[in-house]
């Protein structure tokens, strides 16, 4: 990807000095993803920009997957969370396409603690197809750390996750797939 997301820390580079943007970033960093309520929208890297407008704020979001059914719910949550900042404009921006590489380190650790194995780095060779018949390296179980695990399904409860299980502690767990 040529361009990365805004710094996930939430320090608005376009802050006009009145602290409103910082406050708005602070609020956004508390809004959890509706389908993965362990990480915030900011930690997921889907808040692309936040700017002050004449009568409120504009939030630029990027979708994770083309058909993610949470997109509308996220937009609604953002509107409600930022209501006290005035008129909230939500803009969707597709390019550059969201990648799991934008999930912050803190977000990854929160995913792991929540029981979801975080995504590894997206293959540096972007554009090279995923091996058609893949011999995958086993993932580490987010609970006990064992790599004695197996994949149960390439698609889990949402498009962004796959289902695995640990053969040592016997717990099933999800994997946030690199995208």
């Amino acid at each position: 990807m040529a361009a990365g997301p805004r710094a996930a820390s939430g320090d608005g580079a376009t802050d006009l000095g009145c602290g409103r943007l910082s406050a708005a970033w602070e609020v956004l960093s508390q809004v959890l993803d509706p389908e993965v309520p362990a990480v915030s929208l900011v930690e997921l890297g889907i808040v692309r920009d936040l700017v002050e407008t004449a009568d409120g704020v504009e939030v630029v979001l990027t979708p994770t997957y083309s058909g993610c059914p949470a997109t509308e719910a996220i937009e609604q949550q953002v509107r409600e969370a930022l209501a006290r900042f005035g008129t909230v404009t939500v803009t969707m921006r597709r390019a550059p396409a969201w990648t799991t590489d934008w999930i912050s380190d803190e977000g990854r650790e929160k995913l792991r603690r929540y029981g979801i194995a975080p995504p590894g780095p997206v293959d540096a060779a972007q554009g090279v197809p995923i091996r058609l018949v893949r011999r995958e390296k086993p993932l580490a179980c987010p609970r006990c750390g064992s790599t004695h695990t197996e994949k149960l399904s390439a698609f889990g409860s949402t498009a962004c996750k796959a289902l695995h299980r640990c053969l040592d502690c016997r717990e099933p767990f999800e994997h946030f797939k690199p995208l």
Binding site: G67, P96, A97, P129, R134, A154, F155, A159
Partner: protein
Amino acid sequence: MTTPSIQPGTRADVRYLLRLGDACLVLSHRLSEWCGHAPILEEDLALGNIALDLLGQARALLTRAGQLDGQALDEDQLAFLREERHYLNPVLMELPRGDFAFTQARNLIVASWLLPLWTRLQDSADAEIAAIAAKAVKEVRYHQQHAAEWVVRLGDGSEESTRRMKDALAQLWPYVNELFASDDVDAAAEASGLGPAWSSLKPAWDAAMDEVLAEARLTRPKDTPHVYAGRLGVHSEHMGHMLATMQSLQRAYPGGVW
């Protein structure tokens, strides 16, 4: 209980986008029919998730086609209020879902076609299409891999699974060459930089299919001469029935939303 049909214009760029958007839309609908019927729960989820990705891609493409068409038609109108002849998906997408082998074989055929197509569309002269493609290309890699694993597992599996996979490929193969047919719509898209001619995708598709079929110890079916014409609006007998189901809600409750 009827709502007047809408009809997009005949601009080549709109038709090019409708061919792809309708392909995603119609296959998404066929995959959604598996909901509650897949052989195992995990596959129910997988097919539903793949259908969702395709639907999201279709929404974006139909929205863009509606903008270029200039009649202020939105994604819902384009998806649900056209008549059969105005859908431009290849016939392959509308074939009934068949058995599980048929569904996975079709998914592999389609994903192996969409992967090089989305890859090329990332360089579209239309910035919106390029952005849609950059997202979709990541998704279709997972679809292709998933279908490939099933084709290998069934093709190189039990006596029955092998027979079913062979039957599925034999049934599907006559519909494949429509995915690589060229015409003036195609040529215009290539000339304007909107997207590649579909015929140029064939080498990449061949390579991917041959790799999987070899791993599955399956023989590639022989090519057939007839070229179906879904992309010209001429569909199979299955399309009307499918549309009757797919359109019923918008026909009965125009503009209805969840």
